[in-house]
Symmetry: C2
Subunit: 185 residues, 2 copies
């Protein structure tokens, strides 16, 4: 274990603070606590301050989804299996609804305008990747696009509702439904 911090260690911790408190609510004090780093170190890594931190966290999330969700959807031999695995990966990633989607949180808040492109791209690339898999399952282009949009909507809605009801089962139910609906004829 190194005493010297690395970006790869910091970004996930940073992400959790933004997830838990939102952009406005994530203070440098909370961030310092979560990363065990002083302000000096934080500004050494992120000279642009809080907004750079959030931008890099969003970029990291984007990278993760690209590798673990988008690419598998488009490259898989068996599209039905890829779609099912996407739903399972999403369930794990969001810890059955106990973890929130940072991109969704930012989309709802005032910080959306500052990160508009990153937020939009995240969802639109996800939709594109899922649409491709659904087309390979035999759906028409328009139907595939609509169904992919409905899927993203279900995931985001399930996260909101599960947290509002404080009940992870709401999320699990939604993901089980989602898998069925995505793979239906």
């Amino acid at each position: 274990m190194k005493a010297i911090a690395e970006r790869s260690d910091i970004l996930p911790q940073l992400a959790e603070v933004f997830r838990a408190h939102g952009y406005e609510g994530a203070t440098l004090a909370l961030i310092g606590e979560a990363t065990s780093l002083g302000k000096g170190s934080l500004y050494h890594f992120f000279p642009g301050g809080k907004s750079q931190m959030a931008a890099e966290v969003l970029a990291e999330i984007d990278r993760w989804f690209e590798d673990n969700i988008f690419t598998p959807l488009q490259a898989a031999d068996d599209p039905a299996r890829a779609v099912a695995e996407m739903v399972e990966a999403v369930d794990r990633y969001f810890r059955s609804g106990q973890r929130v989607c940072l991109v969704g949180v930012i989309a709802l808040g005032a910080a959306r305008d500052s990160f508009a492109t990153q937020v939009r791209d995240y969802f639109s690339r996800w939709q594109t990747a899922l649409t491709a898999a659904l087309k390979r399952l035999g759906l028409g282009a328009a139907a595939a696009r609509r169904r992919a949009e409905a899927a993203l909507l279900s995931i985001q809605g399930a996260l909101v509702l599960a947290r509002a009801m404080d009940d992870p089962k709401v999320f699990s139910r939604a993901m089980a439904d989602l898998k069925k609906q995505l793979l239906a004829a």
Copy 2:
């Protein structure tokens, strides 16, 4: 037009500030600006400060939904028509996705814990009212409950996605779909 402010005038303006900036992001400066009221007046109306403001806004929202959504769903002669009118009322209320759901925003943020009961009740009473209407449409108790849950989930998801994509059409499409799904056999 009175120079003296009334609660009934203030609460809607307050609500818009919380919607636009979230609980943490809604500063007293922004609130003062939106209401054209100084801090003195604000603390005269809300001695409990910001948290009382948010609590009363949530109560006001609750009242509005009780009167305009929940009660009509449970009391209507024609449940099919009541369900269709709910979807239309929701579309108007959220301005086709250009306005955000404050209860959802709070549910996702750190302030959720402070308003947990109000947040939970809002959704659970909505689900109860919608479930009742769906049962009168001929659905079994369990199916009605599940379908009502899926409906709330769609609305919240559509709000997130419409804002993320910055495209109100996403919301309108979702509401059109929702109406069909709720009224399907």
